[in-house]
């Protein structure tokens, strides 16, 4: 415990020296891991004191990867997701880590998680849960609290700890119950309904004889009708080729996407309107 406190004090001392002097930007680099914590409060949602407090919370995350907080009042990108991924790539390149965006234009929160060890712990589903757990705070205007909670939950996940997911359990329980009802009904229905006898069984139970001689087809009449092949018709014997389409690649969904706007961010994440 004592060692822990000393470690925190050293970190705080390091923080004082490494914090950037820029007005809306705070930064910290972890001397041991080399990972960085960065805050760019472009929307000016946080006071200096709040920025320092948030940065303090982000320090824990730098043990595992880079982390960034960005607030914006205008979003030139197509979505909060695209902006968050771009922000991460611009600042941390190919490192592993997370970037949390508060997009005031779209009223949206987005937590981008890059590929690598961080994404193994903070999966897309977990990122969604993290953001789900804080969006009400953002709705109330508590942006500092929102960011602090996001980064503390990310750190908890990296440490292998659990985060609260009450809705997940409630919804999954209801969903499981209904799936159970459906499966049981099919089982019960099968057992409760008398089967049906097939025609084959009826025939098998009967005394059947069958004998047929050789069949012969005799021509009765033949008619010839004039029906010219039109130039536009391909005819039944022709072949038809279609061209176009070609191969394509679709991307998206969970991990492993390539964002064109972000210039090389690989990973996933989750977002929420607030």
């Amino acid at each position: 415990m004592r060692k822990h406190r000393i470690f925190i004090l050293i970190l705080l001392a390091m923080l004082l020296f490494s914090v950037s002097a820029l007005a809306d930007t705070e930064a910290y680099t972890n001397g041991e891991t080399g990972y960085t914590a960065l805050i760019e409060d472009d929307a000016d949602l946080l006071s200096d004191e709040e920025e320092r407090e948030v940065l303090e919370t982000m320090i824990g995350m730098t043990e595992y990867g880079d982390c960034g907080l960005k607030t914006i009042s205008e979003n030139p990108k197509s979505s909060a997701k695209a902006y968050a991924e771009d922000f991460f790539y611009q600042n941390f390149q190919n490192h592993t880590g997370v970037a949390f965006l508060i997009d005031m234009e779209n009223r949206e929160l987005y937590l981008a998680v890059s590929d690598g060890a961080v994404h193994n712990a903070i999966t897309d589903a977990k990122a969604l849960t993290v953001v789900d757990n804080v969006y009400t705070m953002a709705s109330r205007g508590d942006y500092a609290g929102t960011a602090e909670k996001v980064f503390s939950q990310c750190t908890s996940l990296m440490r292998g700890e659990r985060i609260a997911q009450p809705m997940k359990f409630i919804c999954n329980a209801l969903l499981a119950l209904i799936i159970g009802l459906v499966i049981c009904f099919e089982v019960a229905n099968k057992a409760a309904t008398p089967g049906e006898t097939t025609d084959t069984e009826l025939i098998t139970a009967a005394a059947v004889t069958f004998a047929a001689g050789a069949a012969a087809a005799n021509l009765v009449n033949k008619r010839r009708t004039y029906s010219p092949i039109s130039s536009g018709s391909s005819g039944s014997g022709g072949s038809h080729h279609s061209s176009g389409g070609g191969g394509f690649h679709s991307s998206g969904g969970g991990g492993g996407f390539h964002s064109s706007g972000g210039g090389g961010f690989h990973g996933g994440g989750g977002g929420h309107k607030f």
Binding site: A192, N218, V220, R223
Partner: protein
């Protein structure tokens, strides 16, 4: 009653020994060797035999016995009452299949069946209930069909030759000789079609003997009330379809554009029918309220059992909870609840529940109105409603067994189409998202899923119709659809669940709680709808108590 020639006691037919056995001195006698009293013999020579008809004062059902003991309960309505008996001369059936399965074996067969029904009420498994099985000879019509002709059918070929189309008409001839003997359908309106169908077939070719009243000793017999015309077309359809299939195998008729239904139309035949009594172990159980009854039957020749088994809701719920546990664990591993996913899941499950409930309601409606039972309809027990009478008249077109392969191919193709179309639609959604440079959003996902389901349903139906045509199935079994006024009181829950989910997706409130509350309400409505579905299922596995409508009675009496 058959008197033992040794000691004068009562003799009964023993299924294991296939002989009459004295209940007192164990003397055995072949029923064929039994000599009826002179008066009975005279009657038999005129084509009749003497029996006591017992009539149930509750439901009007009539059962026969050659014995003079008092019948104390009715197998059709389950009433424990002394049945009114009167002596009667009955027309002798042409043949009888004597009981080959004894009561103990019949009970064992039923126990095996009911053991598999995990959610069956305990009452149905009680010894006191199972011992109520009663051996009843059910009246049947045994149909025969034969053809001996030079079979002729017209076929056509078309060939393009330059700018001309040559159409040639052929007459295809083949000598055909075929006979079918022993396709049987029951002749009692009290014996439900679905139960009779479930324990079929009987094998008169193997075990039928000339009728002798001695075989009835120790058993009851249903008097029968249906003419051979009721199921004649069904029997002919089975035989003619089989002949057509065999003819089709002899020659390449498809080259001449001749399909199975053309062949069936071209077959000329003679048909006939004979009356018979076939052995059935019969049991009826009333529900706890005493207003409905369920039946269990066992084929007294083969031991094949069938039963209408209601579902115990408590057991069903317990089963659902037990299944829910591993499903819950799996869901937690692979699914993180988001408001959108929950709404989507509730919508899909509500629609699934709607489809199940709709199917149930149609069946229940048909059952309650006797629309699924040709025998009851023929006996005049169908409510007077022209629309539903027409539906009932077309009912029970048998599946064509020799088309099994085509039907399997049809199902496989349809399942394959669902998978392929899913891949196609996912790719299309990807292309749309890529071309328009948009994210794969909720609305895109919803519209993709909607378009996928709609398109695939249409395509698979078309493909199904094509296979049906190939198999020579002219029309599907006409589905009896319940009136919407009857259905609406049950289906509003599922529709409300879908409506709530749709409303949330349209309104798109920011706060997740609205979504979760909506999904929760939708889930509860779905659970409620499953409670209804089980109740409907229990209506389907039980029947209204017959009220003087079994013989000459009236549903409304």
């Amino acid at each position: 009653m058959i008197i033992c020639p040794g000691c004068g006691a009562d003799m009964k037919f023993d299924p294991e020994k296939q002989k009459l056995v004295c209940q007192y001195c164990d003397k055995e006698l072949d029923p064929k060797d039994y000599r009826a009293p002179k008066a009975a013999e005279a009657s038999e020579q005129q084509g009749y035999y003497t029996a006591t008809i017992y009539t149930c004062p509750q439901c009007g059902a009539e059962i026969l016995s050659t014995e003079e003991t008092v019948a104390t309960f009715c197998s059709y309505c389950g009433t424990s009452v002394i049945l009114e008996g009167r002596a009667s001369e009955q027309e002798r059936p042409n043949m009888v299949i004597p009981f080959r399965i004894g009561k103990k074996d019949a009970e064992a067969s039923y126990r095996r069946l009911v053991k598999q029904a995990l959610f069956a009420p305990n009452d149905l498994k009680a010894d006191s209930v199972i011992e109520k099985f009663r051996g009843i000879y059910m009246p049947y019509w045994v149909y025969s069909l034969e053809t001996d002709e030079e079979f002729k059918v017209r076929g056509v070929t078309e060939v393009r030759n330059g700018d001309y189309i040559e159409k040639s008409t052929y007459e295809i001839k083949s000598p055909v000789k075929a006979s079918f003997e022993g396709i049987s359908f029951d002749a009692s309106s009290g014996f439900a079609d679905n139960l009779s169908d479930a324990i079929a077939p009987f094998r008169p070719k193997d075990h039928a003997v000339d009728f002798d009243p001695a075989y009835l000793s120790g058993y009851y017999a249903d008097a029968g009330d249906l003419s051979p015309d009721v199921y004649r077309d069904d029997a002919k359809e089975v035989a003619v379809d089989n002949i057509a299939a065999q003819i089709q195998n002899q020659f390449n008729y498809s080259k001449y554009s001749v399909n199975r239904s053309d062949l069936k139309k071209a077959i000329h035949y003679n048909d006939s029918s004979k009356s018979a009594l076939f052995p059935v172990w019969f049991m009826s159980v009333r529900n706890k309220k005493g207003d409905r009854i369920s039946y269990a039957v066992v084929n007294g020749e083969t031991g094949k059992a069938a039963a209408e088994i209601p579902i115990d809701f408590k057991k069903y719920l317990l089963g659902a909870l037990l299944i829910a546990v591993p499903v819950f664990v799996l869901l937690n591993l692979f699914l993180t609840a988001t408001p959108f996913k929950m709404l989507l899941a509730s919508t899909v499950l509500a629609l699934l529940s709607y489809v199940i409930a709709d199917r149930q309601l149609n069946k229940v409606y048909a059952r309650e109105m006797f629309l699924d039972d040709k025998g009851k309809k023929a006996a005049g027990k169908v409510p007077v409603d022209k629309k539903w009478q027409e539906a009932a008249a077309q009912a029970r077109i048998p599946e064509k067994s020799n088309k099994t392969l085509i039907m399997v191919l049809k199902r496989m193709t349809q399942v394959g189409l669902w998978i392929v179309m899913l891949a196609v639609f996912l790719m299309l959604a990807g292309v749309v998202a890529s071309v328009l440079d948009i994210d794969v959003s909720d609305s895109l996902a919803v519209s993709t899923i909607g378009a996928y389901i709609l398109t695939t349903v249409i395509v698979t139906r078309k493909v199904g119709n094509w296979f049906n045509k190939k198999a020579g199935i002219q029309k599907k079994e006409p589905a009896v659809k319940a009136k919407s006024s009857y259905k609406s009181k049950y289906l509003f829950k599922q529709l409300a669940a879908v409506g709530i989910a749709a409303l949330m997706l349209v309104m798109r409130p920011t706060d997740d709680y609205y979504y979760y509350i909506a999904a929760g309400v939708a889930f509860l409505l779905i659970v409620w709808s499953f409670y209804d579905i089980i109740r409907q299922q229990n209506l389907l596995t039980t029947r209204k108590l017959p009220h003087l409508n079994a013989r000459g009675g009236d549903e409304n009496a």
